[in-house]
């Protein structure tokens, strides 16, 4: 650091007052640090992007071309035949299944979580609601993997095995704890006076919930929906154990099937992964901010 102070070059030598020296040196130090941090940042970028880059370029290569070209070079001739193959392999059905499962789970899950969160905040002090809240908090610690066997049993008993509802119902349940936590923290921030004035106007709790709390909670509702949507869209275990026939497969399960089906046709496998990832990446491009807060919902601010 000491090298900064002496001999500023040429005519300006006399100009800078003494007090400038420390600030300059600290700025210099900052820049040095940026080199270290920056280098690290770019390396990590490479680590993150390389597999994705490989995936996308490979998906546009012909199978023959793939084996004879440098795997890191983009194809000289783009082909869509891999995508065509994936789409012809019932992709639309798997995609539709995933859409049904995701929408069918997040809409009711968000709705009932919002109602529960509203009740927990507005009915604070009620012993039953406190118990409910306690159970939801405890629920945050229950891993889905550990309870799949009884869930499987329940689904069999309900005669829902191998249906999309079989995936939807437990997905709703496991979306509840975190959704309620995030939403209730949000509703708690609504000023008490607003609730009070609604009450003075003679609004019922039901009316207050929809006309006051619901619009004010919208950002948190979107966050919670996105968080749950990504989780359910990508879910693998529930479809794996609760369905059996290919007609009921969702995308992650279908991907695993594609992989065995296409075998050494690496470009086709790459196309299937790319195609299933596009919807979420598009969503990310549109609502990045919401999505980021969505995926870290509930953890630190």
């Amino acid at each position: 650091m000491a090298t900064v102070t002496p001999t500023p070059v040429g005519t300006r030598a006399t100009r800078p007052p003494a007090s400038h020296a420390p600030r300059k040196s600290s700025r210099r130090r900052l820049r040095e640090n940026n080199w270290v941090g920056g280098g690290f940042g770019w390396i990590w970028l490479l680590v993150v992007m390389l597999p994705l880059y490989w995936l996308v370029i490979t998906s546009f290569k012909t199978q023959a071309n793939y084996f004879f070209t440098n795997p890191l070079k983009p194809p000289t001739e783009f082909t869509f035949e891999n995508y065509q193959l994936v789409i012809e392999s019932d992709f639309v059905r798997y995609f539709t299944n995933s859409v049904i499962v995701t929408a069918g789970a997040i809409l009711p899950a968000t709705l009932i979580s919002f109602m529960a969160a509203y009740a927990i905040v507005r009915g604070a002090g009620n012993r039953f609601l406190r118990t409910v809240n306690g159970i939801f908090l405890m629920g945050l610690a229950i891993p889905l993997q550990a309870v799949v066997i009884p869930v499987y049993l329940i689904i069999i008993k309900m005669e829902l095995y191998d249906t999309l509802q079989a995936i939807i119902l437990p997905s709703i349940a496991f979306a509840i704890p975190l959704s309620v936590l995030v939403l209730s923290n949000f509703i708690r921030d609504v000023p008490k006076e607003l609730f009070e004035s609604m009450r003075m106007d003679g609004a019922t709790e039901w009316g207050t919930m929809w006309r006051l709390a619901f619009p004010l909670t919208r950002p948190a509702l979107v966050t919670v929906m996105i968080y749950n949507a990504v989780g359910i869209w990508n879910g693998f275990l529930l479809p794996l154990i609760l369905t059996q026939s290919p007609e009921q497969a969702t995308i992650p399960l279908a991907l695993a099937t594609f992989q065995t089906q296409f075998g050494v046709n690496v470009p086709a496998v790459a196309a299937s992964v790319t195609l299933t990832t596009v919807p979420i990446v598009l969503l990310y491009a549109i609502g990045r901010r919401q999505l980021v807060s969505g995926l870290t919902a509930g953890f630190g601010k």
């Binding site: 640090n33 941090g37 990590w44 993150v48 597999p51 994705l52 490989w54 084996f67 440098n70 009932i112 109602m115 509203y118 507005r122 009915g123 604070a124 009620n126 012993r127 609601l129 118990t131 159970i135 629920g139 610690a141 229950i142 550990a146 309870v147 066997i149 009884p150 869930v151 049993l153 329940i154 119902l169 709703i172 349940a173 496991f174 509840i176 704890p177 309620v180 936590l181 609730f195 009070e196 019922t204 039901w206 990504v230 869209w233 990508n234 693998f236 275990l237 992650p252 399960l253 695993a256 050494v264 690496v266 496998v269 299933t276 990310y284 995926l295 919902a297 953890f299 630190g300 601010k301």
Partner: protein, 308 residues
């Protein structure tokens, strides 16, 4: 559980807070409560009951057979290996992810445009399903058709998923690739909350960047480290999708962690009893570890985990 609901719904005790009529809102919590009890709490109790029962998962006969299933699960010669693999994955993935996540979090916390841009790209792995990630790496690392063979680079051309030690290492790498973005986001948020004045004071005292990092940033991140570590450690107990698609527990049993062992016992070997016993072990281990880490961190981490 059912005994909880009826008496209290009637009890319209005045609330301590703003005077909301709690009785009229109680029912609003019921749909979520019933749903969660039915598919969350009942299965949690159910898995304990099933661990004392015998069931093949296909026929409807479930017999309570006492400790038979526990004995079968605990005396299974592959259990010690499964525990060891689970521990190995937990420890190694923590060791790899934590320093990188902290550094990335600190890096991302500075608000400049290019760092913001990089953060956008870092985030992408979080959007992919474990199945998609596993399949990508499986193809990418394939010894005959993957990138190593294609580039003709000897060092890259290993049987990454086919040799025991390499497979564990590869798995740790893929896990880190998938989850570091999430943890670095947590650290990014925490670093931004460190008061700027602390750094200014340190600068006046002549502390360099490295000393500032170890003297201010790291200690200030203590509770975040505990939160993030809890999520990592407890989360690693339940890695299933990724391992299942990537290696299916192989080669041999090199990556057969407890969650995989549970699935294989239950849904492939039709031994739901012993599989439930493994599930109970998983729940208890997770609970124990998170309590232990919470103890380590003192009381304050609670608010960090639960504050939205």
């Amino acid at each position: 559980m059912t005994t909880l609901a009826p008496p209290v719904v009637r009890g319209q005790e005045p609330t301590r807070s703003s005077g909301g009529r709690s009785g009229s809102v109680v029912w609003m919590a019921l749909p979520a409560f019933v749903m969660f009890v039915f598919f969350g709490i009942v299965p949690l109790l159910g898995v304990i009951v099933l661990s004392f029962a015998t069931w093949n998962g296909i026929t409807p006969t479930i017999e309570l057979t006492g400790l038979t299933s526990w004995r079968a699960a605990l005396s299974n010669p592959s259990l010690p290996n499964a525990i060891w693999v689970t521990f190995l994955i937990m420890a190694l993935s923590w060791l790899v992810q934590t320093p990188i996540s902290i550094l990335l979090g600190v890096f991302m916390a500075t608000r400049t445009r290019y760092r913001g841009f990089l953060s956008v790209l870092y985030f992408i792995p979080l959007l992919l399903s474990s199945a998609a990630i596993a399949i990508t790496y499986k193809s990418l690392l394939d010894p005959s058709f993957g990138i190593g063979a294609g580039l003709g680079v000897e060092a890259l051309n290993q049987n990454w998923l086919g040799e025991a030690n390499l497979a564990i290492g590869t798995l740790i790498f893929v896990v880190s690739w998938q989850f570091i973005p999430f943890h670095s986001l947590i650290y990014q948020g925490a670093v931004r909350q460190i008061p700027h004045s602390m750094y200014e004071a340190a600068q006046i005292d002549g502390a360099g960047r490295v000393r500032q990092f170890f003297g201010i940033t790291l200690p200030q991140l203590k509770y975040t480290i505990i939160t993030s570590s809890t999520l990592m450690v407890v989360g690693s107990l339940t890695f299933f999708d990724l391992i299942w698609v990537l290696t299916a527990g192989g080669p041999g049993d090199a990556t057969r962690a407890l969650a995989v062992q549970m699935y294989q016992q239950g849904f492939q070997a039709s031994l739901m009893g012993p599989a439930s016993a493994i599930a109970v072990i998983l729940v208890l281990t997770g609970l124990g570890l998170s309590l232990l880490l919470r103890r380590l961190g003192g009381r304050a981490d609670e608010s960090q985990l639960e504050g939205a």
